[in-house]
């Protein structure tokens, strides 16, 4: 059945679905998801330096990916790029581990033990990107912090946006910062909408405010925090991310 469904999916097709994560118990585990009777490969177990952050048992996930060509991995059609959001409510049924069977380990950078290899040479640290230097004259500038679905957790992209906004505010001696939180109504591939909780726009805005205050902005800066009650309807992958954002408008 899965093979037949796979044939119906064209390479490059966006796929957005909600479901339980599935773990294939290969030596190095791989993560899968199921939609419309088809099995999709999401990524390998990795570490925090990887692009792919795996889902979690006991929670459903919302998967946003693009059907990729190439051979299946761990029995699943490869989604790449792929973004996985862990949904907040518990679901004890999300506890699905498949046997390794005859499947090989997925491609991976790190095994189940410590990183690197004995006798090897540590990889050089990633080149540090120089932060943008803000210089006068200053004009109002908006920074955008993006979030996973139904979450106000500040992952690296949001942290970078907040840090950059704080740097700009300090360089410009900002008089005001306007923080506005949003939430999304995400169109799934099955035609239904996943609507983020009403509270999450507010939570996102407040999380950004707290982080900005901790990092530090000028004493004179007045911060206002707003959130939009109505969910922003979104029908494609790029829009999805922008719809679940918090904007940080810094006014010199």
């Amino acid at each position: 059945m899965w093979a037949a469904a796979a044939a119906a999916q064209g390479v490059g097709t966006p796929l957005v679905f909600v479901g339980c994560p599935i773990l294939r118990n290969t030596d190095l585990p791989c993560w899968l998801g199921e939609s419309g009777g088809e099995l999709y490969y999401l990524g390998p177990q990795g570490d925090l330096t990887a692009d792919f952050y795996p889902p979690q048992f006991r929670h459903k996930m919302l998967v946003e990916g693009v059907v990729s060509g190439g051979p299946r991995i761990c029995g699943g059609i490869v989604l790449k790029p792929v973004r996985v959001s862990v949904l907040p409510d518990l679901d004890i049924n999300c506890n699905i581990m498949l046997p390794a069977a005859a499947y090989a380990d997925p491609p991976h950078d790190r095994g189940t033990g410590p990183s690197g290899a004995r006798g090897g040479t540590p990889a050089p640290p990633p080149a540090r990107t120089q932060p943008i230097q803000f210089t006068a004259p200053f004009k109002p500038q908006t920074f955008t912090a993006v979030f996973n679905v139904d979450s106000e957790r500040l992952w690296q992209p949001a942290q970078t946006a907040i840090t950059t906004a704080a740097r700009f505010a300090n360089a410009a001696g900002a008089s005001r910062i306007e923080i506005t939180g949003y939430r999304a109504a995400i169109r799934l591939s099955n035609g239904q909408d996943y609507v983020e909780s009403q509270a999450v726009a507010e939570s996102r805005a407040k999380a950004v405010e707290q982080a900005l205050r901790t990092i530090g902005v000028p004493a004179r800066t007045k911060i206002t925090v707003r959130w939009q009650r109505a969910a922003i309807a979104s029908h494609d992958l790029d829009q999805n991310l922008q719809a679940r954002r918090t904007s940080i408008l810094v006014l010199p």
Binding site: D89, P114, K206, A211
Partner: protein, 568 residues
């Protein structure tokens, strides 16, 4: 429609960043009216027009005083102080190696003390310490205790339950160690009864009393995400009319082991990151220097720095009438920051620092080593043990050393599924993750977590704590996450716990039962283990992990792990 929240506020409403010497009010000795003074000072700061990056409305400290300290002082002031405890004996009689407060002895530049598995070694990087008049060793409070009371050199700078029991016998329970404030099950209990000190005598647990709801740095209350009820209260302290949850000064009592006060360059090591890699929240700052701290000290990171910790400990555990002076605090920190501890001799493995042996053993390794991430093959957590891997003969020492080397490999590389651990499986690694002990215990030479190290291992929360029979002697709380907040990621909205851990500081459901892991050095000298003393032996500890994570260790693997842990 845009909704304008109630959060619009000027930065000028926040307190100014605190610099040493700037705010004289806090540099005064802290008297018995400290709570009122601190509240007034915090309120004054809240009106300061200066720039700020201290989150006064979040957990933390202002100056050297953390948000919870004033209410803790109020409770400590209520606890009786036994007359007999004021004048401790000036000898070291009784338990071998027991260090009495104020005994005036010298602590050498290098020392060794017997422990059940061999010897524990200490190195003072600054040379011998004359403890006469030294605030770490003198009873600077009102109950006869000093810092050294609970951080004994012979016990790897913690205190073992064996030593505690010996002190009870040697002093008929009069040692200041058993002070009513936290060396008994509750200050209201009959202090001359052994049963009133049962958690300390049986499991090495001291009472930690924390305000409920939690306090922010400025002393204001943090709105918790959950309701807290007492389900059972074997010690009676959580339901006590004076000391309990419904008293005039509401406090939650939990019971925890003292931590090792040594090897601090590792314990306080951090990247200076602005965001917590575990949950994305902003990190706390040192309230004096303004630098980000690593949030990895104590069981719950409630104190941002060793300096605020020492201040709080003097005012609560030692029941000091005034806060330590700046000079005293500096001497305490100088001592702590230059003290290194590790096992030095193994009864079965011989001298651990023999030339050509593993380079991660002994206190000199701690002195000479550097902190960092050890969950890699380049600089393993405790180094390699190849030198011992192949027995040179079939004598007991060689065989034991080979077992230790295998134990290191089990610790470092043996995979099992780690699941349902908040602040590990929730950080982006996935749940479950197939990894080894070193995934969490990843910090060089200590085996702590290099990141803010609080995790819910399950030793405090049901159902996993049910595998630790002694937890029946601890209070049990029912925590119900409010509908407006997210549930605990793996336990849902209703959680039963013996110690809410970090959640008593943040009020967050995410943090329920999360406790900072401890360093591995000197384990043999300071049983029992885990924050709640629930593992009496290293075997108990290994068995817990084996069951909790279905690791299916063989008997040989278990013994190898125990032998490895015992020589650290």
């Amino acid at each position: 429609m845009l909704h304008l929240g109630l959060q619009a506020a000027s930065q000028s409403m926040l307190p100014s960043v605190l610099r040493v010497g700037r705010h004289r009010a806090l540099r005064r000795p802290l008297g018995l009216g400290a709570a009122a003074l601190l509240t007034a000072v915090a309120n004054a700061w809240a009106q300061s027009p200066e720039a700020s990056f201290v989150r006064s409305t979040q957990p933390g400290a202002i100056g050297v005083i953390s948000g919870q300290t004033p209410s803790q002082i109020t409770q400590a002031d209520r606890a009786p102080i036994a007359p007999a405890a004021i004048a401790p004996a000036a000898s070291t009689e009784g338990y071998s190696g027991w260090w009495n407060p104020g005994n005036g002895a010298e602590l050498g530049a290098s020392s060794e003390f017997d422990d059940p598995a061999g010897k524990i070694g200490l190195i003072n990087a600054t040379g011998p310490i004359d403890t006469k008049g030294h605030p770490f060793f003198e009873p600077i409070g009102r109950n006869g205790r000093a810092c050294v009371s609970c951080h004994q050199p012979a016990n790897a700078m913690s205190v073992s339950v064996a030593a505690i029991q010996d002190r009870w016998q040697a002093t008929a329970g009069k040692d200041p160690l058993f002070a009513a404030v936290d060396g008994s099950n509750c200050p209201s209990a009959a202090q001359d009864q052994e049963a009133s000190h049962s958690l300390l005598l049986k499991h090495g647990l001291f009472r930690i009393f924390l305000p409920w709801p939690p306090k922010a740095a400025d002393g204001s209350s943090i709105a918790p995400e959950f309701d807290l009820e007492v389900v059972s209260d074997p010690t009676g302290c959580n339901t006590d009319p004076v000391y309990g949850l419904h008293s005039a000064n509401p406090q939650v009592s939990v019971f925890r082991r003292p931590r090792v006060v040594a090897n601090f360059k590792y314990v306080t090591y951090g990247y200076g990151a602005a965001f917590n890699i575990k949950d994305g929240s902003p990190m706390e700052r040192d309230p004096e220097s303004g630098q980000f701290v690593n949030m990895n000290i104590m069981a719950d990171a409630r104190e941002p720095t060793p300096k605020t910790q020492a201040t709080n400990a003097a005012l609560t555990h030692l029941q000091a009438a005034t806060r330590p002076t700046d000079a005293q605090l500096q001497r305490i920190l100088d001592f702590e920051n230059h003290l290194y501890v590790a096992a030095s001799v193994s009864r079965l493995g011989g001298k651990l620092t023999d030339a050509g042996g593993p380079d991660g053993l002994g206190p000199a390794a701690m002195l000479n080593g550097a902190p960092g991430l050890g969950d890699n093959f380049y600089k393993p957590v405790f180094g390699y043990f190849d030198q011992w891997a192949t027995p040179q003969s079939d004598d007991a020492q060689s065989l034991f050393r080979a077992s230790v080397a295998r134990g290191m490999e089990v610790f470092f590389t043996r995979p099992f599924y780690i699941r349902d651990v908040t602040h590990l499986n929730t950080v982006g690694l996935g749940n479950p993750i197939k990894r080894s002990c070193a995934t969490c215990h990843n910090a060089r030479l200590t085996g702590m977590d290099l990141a803010p190290g609080w995790m819910d291992l399950g030793t405090a929360n049901l159902p996993w704590s049910d595998d630790l029979p002694m937890t029946a002697e601890l209070p049990l709380f029912k925590l119900t996450c409010r509908p407006s907040n997210r549930p605990h990621p793996y336990l849902g909205r209703v959680i039963y716990t013996h110690d809410p851990g970090r959640a008593l500081i943040t009020g967050r459901c995410l943090d329920i039962g999360a406790i900072i892991m401890q360093q591995f050095r000197g384990l043999a000298a300071r049983a029992p283990y885990f924050s709640n003393g629930s593992a009496a032996t290293l075997r108990d500890l290994v068995d817990y992990y084996d069951k909790r994570f279905e690791a299916n260790y063989t008997e040989q693997e278990k013994q190898d792990l125990i032998n490895f842990l015992g020589v650290l």
